[in-house]
């Protein structure tokens, strides 16, 4: 009953939105960020509507219709691919002109070797879509890129201009406090930092560039990733929707988004930062989700039984208890970000990866290995700093478990 009234309200609001969209289409509005927002505003209730309909229709009916829909899409795709192919036979009946035999059974040739015309024109569609996307919304990405570039340049400038002993002392101080005053870790991290510059003076500034990119990339990952992780932990539906996206982000080869990155943001640090986000964010999202779901059910019940609201539960119980896992996620995120920065040197990103690339191009094994070593040292420094903080939190929340 409640569901139905809710549903009606949503239908009405959708109709209003459709009206709005139609109206804005007719007006001549420059295709800018507002236009994109309008589209998003339309998109979100539409998704809600679809989910609502899916909830109301009985499951088996839904399953049946989704199968029928799938079949229709497949058949349409095959027809389109046949019609749009340049290599299709002149006549449909030509398909059955050439025969071959498989284990003595005669078969038309197109069933034996993959026919050239059975090829969906996905590439053309993506290219077409991409072109119009750039034309319409390129400005938005320019704006994002500019903002990020400003932040990157400022931060890098400050650290590069700081005398190097002060930077090393800063790193030591941060490690000392995040690790809970552990002298061993602190001294080790200090030495690693020193050795980055000690290996080759050129590496110092490059390491700072790399670190700045990593830091900004991680900051974006945290700002976007943690709320998504929380949303996933709260709702099964959100999780089911996000998981395939995360799989795609993790599996898709880095070069597939490095190149569109160049087109959208130009060469340099920004596409690298965006790539860091795509590559390094999934583990953080997954570990946030996992961490929150792993919080003891009885502790959650206890909080609920005292009348904790959703916000009190999240901030007071779930997030603090998930923090060791989230910190692990940030640690993973850092390591993957560093790996991505090195790969991103291939699209002209400066930094330590650049040195490795240079060494490879000149077949200078020594230079490449030296730069590689510097990257390892940087990785150790960043890892110890984030790891130490996670350990400290873990000790505070579960003091018994750490001391064996």
């Amino acid at each position: 009953m409640n569901k139905i009234t809710n549903f009606n309200i949503k239908v009405v609001s959708i109709l209003i939105f459709i009206g709005l969209i139609v109206a804005t289409h007719n007006l001549i509005i420059p295709k800018n960020i507002f236009y994109l927002f309008l589209k998003l505003i339309f998109l979100i209730p539409s998704v809600a509507l679809i989910v609502n309909i899916a909830n109301i229709i009985p499951k088996h009916t839904l399953l049946f219709f989704s199968k029928v829909f799938g079949a229709i899409v497949l058949i349409t795709l095959i027809i389109i691919s046949y019609l749009s192919s340049k290599r299709k036979p002149d006549n449909f009946s030509d398909l059955f002109d050439k025969w071959d035999s498989f284990l003595g059974i005669p078969l038309p040739k197109f069933l034996i070797n993959w026919p050239k015309w059975l090829d969906t024109p996905f590439m053309h569609w993506i290219n077409k879509g991409w072109k119009s996307f750039i034309a319409d919304y390129g400005l938005i990405f320019d704006a994002i890129g500019y903002g990020l570039l400003r932040g990157y340049t400022e931060l890098k400038g400050i650290i590069v201009q700081t005398p190097w002993p002060i930077v090393i002392i800063g790193v030591i101080a941060i490690t000392y406090f995040t690790s809970g005053r552990k002298v061993g870790t602190t001294v080790f991290v200090g030495f690693c930092t020193f050795f980055i510059g000690f290996l080759n003076p050129r590496f110092w500034d490059k390491a700072i560039e790399t670190t700045t990119m990593v830091v900004i990339g991680i900051a974006i990952c945290i700002i976007i990733g943690i709320p998504i992780g929380i949303a996933m932990a709260r709702s099964e539906k959100v999780r089911n929707a996000i998981l395939p996206i995360l799989d795609t982000m993790q599996v898709i080869p880095a070069f597939c988004y490095l190149i569109p990155g160049i087109i959208l943001f130009g060469l340099g640090a920004i596409p690298a930062i965006i790539s860091i986000f795509i590559y390094a964010c999934p583990p953080l999202i997954r570990l946030t989700d996992l961490g929150i779901r792993l919080v003891d059910e009885e502790v959650i019940e206890a909080a609920r039984s005292f009348g904790a609201s959703k916000k009190q539960m999240l901030l007071g119980v779930q997030l603090p208890l998930a923090l060791p896992n989230i910190m692990q996620g940030i640690n993973q995120c850092t390591m993957m970000a560093l790996a991505m920065v090195v790969i991103a040197s291939m699209i002209g990103t400066r930094g330590l990866g650049d040195e490795v690339l240079l060494g490879l191009q000149q077949l200078n094994v020594g230079a490449a290995l030296e730069a590689g070593l510097a990257i390892v040292l940087l990785a150790i420094v960043l890892d110890r700093m984030t790891q130490a903080y996670g350990d400290k939190i873990q000790e505070r929340t579960q003091p018994g478990k750490k001391k064996q």
Binding site: E298, E301, A303, R304, S305, G307, T397, Q398, K401
Partner: protein, 353 residues
Amino acid sequence: MSKIEIKNVYKIFGNNPSEVLPMVKEGANKEEVLEKTGHTVGLDNVSLSIEEGETFVCMGLSGSGKSTLIRHLNRLIDPTDGDIIVDGTNIMELDEHQLIDFRKHELSMVFQRFGLFPHKTVIENIGYGLEIQGKTLEERNKTAMTQIEAVGLQGFEDQYPSQLSGGMQQRVGLARALATNPEILLMDEAFSALDPLIRSDMQQQLIELQSKLKKTIVFITHDLDESLRLGDHIGILNGGRLVQAGTPEQIIMNPADDYVKAFVKDVNRAKVLKAKTVMVQADKFDTSSIKLAETYKVNEGVYIEEFLPKVLENNSTIVVVDGKGDTKGYITSKELAISLSKTGYNETTNTTQ
């Protein structure tokens, strides 16, 4: 009006509980429903009333629905059908905001595995309910300290739960529940995870606290001895159905079915039955047979174990008196033999009378 009333509550777990409900209402049992629909029946037409200030013990084996039942009282679980009335309010009609308010002030809960917040110290844990209510840190700590003293945990207030033993953790759980000064205390197998000595200690502590505080306590357990010790009334659940509810004596003397009989079989009756329950009424007893020198007076509320040795030693007759000193009835070795025999009090009395 009872403090808590549970009226015809059904709970079915599964994808589509409302479709299965009519089948359960028609009397299909748990196994049938599971086999035919894949739904699990948690509670099947449970009706109960719990009076103010009493300790109601809900007992059953695992899977009998007792933990499900207690979670209905603060709506951690919502019933599929039925009404739950607390203090005259039907809590099924509360909206989300009212429900949160109800949980904040009316009741609190103690959990089997304690449910303490591992990232908070003892004092922060105990003050949690007050924190949710929006009390200041000072107020919280003041109330928490009195509770810490009440459960005897002075000196541990800045420790984390994982640094405490199980018994101490559960005391923190109890103190946390009492800190908000709720009228109703829900205890979900609160002492089941503790070892026997500490458990009996905690039971004693609860009895003492209860004699001072007079809360309405709903206590879940699978241990009959515990329920007899703590309960003013006991309800026994089996497969989601309430098979019997009554005072401990009623349960022991008149088990409703084989399930309850199996439960009470191994009970030490001398510890549970009171003089009042086993005596023969004064007007039905032939007083000519007693010799005055061999009588011994006991109060009607005394357990058998306290006067049993006297009867065995001197073969004396027990005179049961009430608070004013009036004779209410008599107990001889015959009554004791009948009441302590395992084969069932009723059958034996029927054949002897």
